[in-house]
Amino acid sequence: MATRRQFIRISTVSAGAVMAGMAGFRLLASELTEGQKATMAALNKRTPTYCEVCFWKCAGWVYKNDQGAIQKITGNAEDMNCNGRFCPRGTGGVGMYYDEDRLKTPLIRTEERGKQSFREATWDEAFDYISEKIKKLSADYGPECIALFTHGSGGKYFTTLLKALGSPHVAAPSYAQCRGPREVAFQATFGQTLDSPEPLDIRDTKCLVLIGSHLGENMHNGQVQEMSDAIDKGATIITVDPRYSTAAGKSKYWLPIKPATDLALLLAWINVIINEELYDKAYVEKYTYGFEYLKEHVKDMTPEWAYGVTTIDPTVIRETAREMSNAAPAVIVHPGRHVTWYGDDTQRLRAVAILNALLGSWGRRGGFYRAESAALPEPTHPPYPVPKRTWRTEFPDLYKLADVVLANGVCDASVPDPSRNCKFHGWIVNGSNLIETLPNRANTLRAIEALELLVVIDTMPMEITGYADVILPECTYLERYDEIRTGPHRKPQIALRMPAAEPMYNTKPAFWMARELAKRLGVIDYFPFETLEEQLDWQLKDLGSSLEEMKKVGVKTFDRPNDDLFFTPGEEVEFFTGTGKIELYSTLLADGGFDPMPRYTKHPEPPEGFYRLNYGRAPMHTFGRTSNNPNLTDLMDENSVWVNPRVAKEWGLSTGQYVYLENQDGKRSEFPIKVRVTERIRWDSVYMVHGFGHAQKKMRRCYGKGASDASLITNVMLDPIMGGTGMRGNFVTFITDLVKEEVAS
């Protein structure tokens, strides 16, 4: 059966790939290696950058050895994100640069003798192909039918391009597949979203409550550092997790909660704090709205009730609530990061927000601070054309409170459907491996099948590239300029990214790609600067700096315009909510027809012989992006499935054994996964780290290693409020009698 678009394993060998002579071998059999000598001599020969491995964007320095090859990356001591210390992914960023499996040249899909494959192309050919297609799609269906998925710095330029063409459809999977529910929840409660990095004053907190956060395995650099500072100062950590996470190992209280019942615990805490009058009375009086409604709402949600739901002892629930209150206002109930679990996630995060509000931590030291960003001028360009249609105009009732384009929404709307008269016809995907990112892979593939254009921009041949019509190889962050980092923090701070080396092979920066496409599509006016350097220098001069200065210092910190990191006592604060106050009772949700206060709902439990699939992070990897990085695969090259010893005994499993996993819908993992029998996981769940089980043969280090949790997430629990895709409603069982097979080519 001829399919529109087959998955192709990248099969090009590097034609014209110039292997930098220094890449890889720089060792000498002498007392001090070249690299070590270089360390001493090169302290002045370093270039600034900010990391692109995850989204934290820590600023650092790239050092080169005597041969001029990139040697190592360290943190910039002035940077507030990392305080001079990079995390293992950032330190291992050199591996991204030296990875021989990188995309090396533009590729275009061709059909030869009934078989689809890629052929190498020049940049001109690739751009011509793309621009022709885009012009055709715009003419036939309107530019709004083209969507951009992005995760990474390149997104800015393709966003400009798309908006210039007249499409507002820019989706970041990090919204509905990750942090979206908490953005809506905090927006509804406090009138603002949390963004990245979250404005958490962890280093001064006295009590850190981690419910749905596995900080320590989740390597949010600044937060892990501050958690360590807090431990030094004697802060209490309360961890709620069905798994004994690293954070649980450092906690005074670990609440081994039954999965899917967190909302009950939160409501019980709210109940205790209200009934024992442990809340910050003055704060609640002055800044919040709806306290009486809340009190009435939670009156039956006692710890005893919660005990029956969560299996957490009511005494412990009370004790931990009092612990939080004693520490208040220097207490943080951490909002988590990846919170798309069961479809009621916005409500669960509402409970988190309400709890923080009752404890008075918002705007107080040791709680949430008020972040400030530096403001950079935008290059002047003509106003963007107004789109004739947007997803919001086409689906006014869908996910009413989502204020950004949903990745899964775009995906769904790309699948042909007779009930809709519009659909997306073209996707540009930048730095996001949608195959592993979006749950319900079958749906994603159906959508891709129906597309007329799929352009993928990436540095590695990730699975999504196998479906592309055109692949544009981007150079890594170590080989390019990018926008000035202006992320929010305690003080406004900017950071420069400049190339430490010329792009390897035939790769190019995203800025150049977007600009070249803009030329061909007649929207070059939206890219007034010819090079990014010119733009950066112009922007920096506006801030009183310059490109030259930033190249020397890497980061520059400014003073806050106002001394308002925290609320001053008695300060009149206006919150951007309907009532102008912190809404314990959410008028926004009520207006949208949703529960104004969270309510616990029971979620399906695993059937007999199945176990809930829990997934998470390892501190040495980030998403699936680093699975092939040589330095990081040295640390961890495959994931394992954590199995409780009681379960292992039942199934006859032992540590080191390989098994296949099959979920409740009969979907089986493509590759087997190693078993780890451990007491750290509950008997009703299994746990595995996300980002493995890659099916691209050209990623030689990670191909076939471990299993992909994403492929087993077929049951998606949609959050009706903002369209978040809850992924924790999947259950797996073990297939033990299959031998590890080669995947058919």
Partner: protein
């Protein structure tokens, strides 16, 4: 449940999952070293006891192969080195606390002694041998005049060499299986037994054969005793030593050790020798070959098993 695991993926070549840096070259070196030491010991001993005429195989024939055995030792050791071009650094210093330094020097000096001894007896095999150079003839005469001294030195060196093969391993307290003081005498005894077996093979005189058969039986008996003693020591030792000994008491090396090394390499040839002494016709090649094979296998098994025994992870 207790779990102890390395979470950063350590997988150093030859170190993980367990140490395996030494292979058959080291086992061969230990065996041939022990064998050479034994042969030279017997040669020197019986010469000093004035039995040169009586036990010709021991004193005059068998030692002729020793230089070649030691050359093979050197070749095996050199082959095993991973930074070969600097091998000469071994001879720039003597480190008295390093058994390997002892070994390097002792082996070299033993080689010299064995060459001298072989030279002194070369005319037993090649009567018309002539050096062609006057100074070499004079050198040979010099050594012939001081043959007793040479014998004493050779005996001394042979003993050190024989014991060194065991002490080398025993000095590594990081490998609990090896870290027993019984190993030195045990390998020495094993070397002597192998030497006795070789001499038994080489001998033509019935009295000599008979003597060495008796020596073989005694030495095998002592060896067996030492092995049993060694295991008793392990089992009465620390936790790591108990675990190390379990490799041979139910673990993966149990069969190969007790059946091939102990039974076929020690007990069975011992029985054969006793029977032979009692009058049964046993071709001498049988017990001799078994002892030699058993000796090599003993060291082979010990080198490999020792690298499995450890303190951590």
């Amino acid at each position: 449940m207790n779990e102890e695991l390395i979470v950063s993926g350590r997988d150093n070549l030859l170190i993980d999952p367990h140490l395996h840096i030494w292979h058959w070259p080291i086992a061969l070196d230990l065996f041939l070293g022990g064998l050479s030491a034994g042969i030279l010991f017997f040669a020197a001993l019986f010469f000093i006891l004035g039995k040169e005429g009586k036990y010709t195989a021991a004193v005059r024939k068998a030692p002729l192969i020793v230089p070649f055995l030691i050359v093979v030792c050197f070749m095996a050791l050199f082959y095993d080195l991973r930074h070969k071009i600097f091998f000469w650094q071994l001879y720039t210093t003597i480190k008295f606390q390093s058994p390997m330094s002892w070994g390097a020097w002792t082996l070299t000096m033993t080689f010299a002694a064995s060459v001298i001894w072989a030279v002194l007896h070369i005319r037993d095999q090649f009567p018309a041998f002539d050096w062609k150079y006057k100074w070499l003839n004079e050198l040979e005469n010099f050594f012939r005049k001081h043959k007793t001294v040479v014998a004493w030195i050779m005996m001394f060196l042979a003993l050190i060499l024989g014991v060194y093969t065991g002490i080398l391993l025993a000095a590594f307290n990081a490998r609990p299986l090896w870290n027993t003081s019984v190993l030195g005498p045990l390998f020495l005894t094993s070397g002597l037994a192998a030497a006795a077996a070789t001499i038994m093979l080489a001998a033509r005189d019935t009295e000599e054969i008979s003597l060495f058969k008796k020596l073989t039986v005694v030495l095998l008996g002592v060896e067996l005793f030492l092995i049993v003693h060694m295991f008793m020591g392990f089992l009465a030792g620390t936790q790591v030593q108990i675990e190390a000994s379990e490799l041979f008491l139910g673990g993966e090396y149990t069969m190969i050790f007790w059946i091939f090394v102990v039974f076929l390499g020690i007990i069975f040839p011992g029985i054969l020798s006793v029977m032979s002494l009692r009058g049964y016709r046993i071709p001498v090649i049988l017990p001799a070959a078994l002892i030699l094979l058993g000796g090599f296998l003993f060291r082979y098994v010990f080198v490999y098993a020792g690298q499995l025994s450890r303190w951590l992870y």
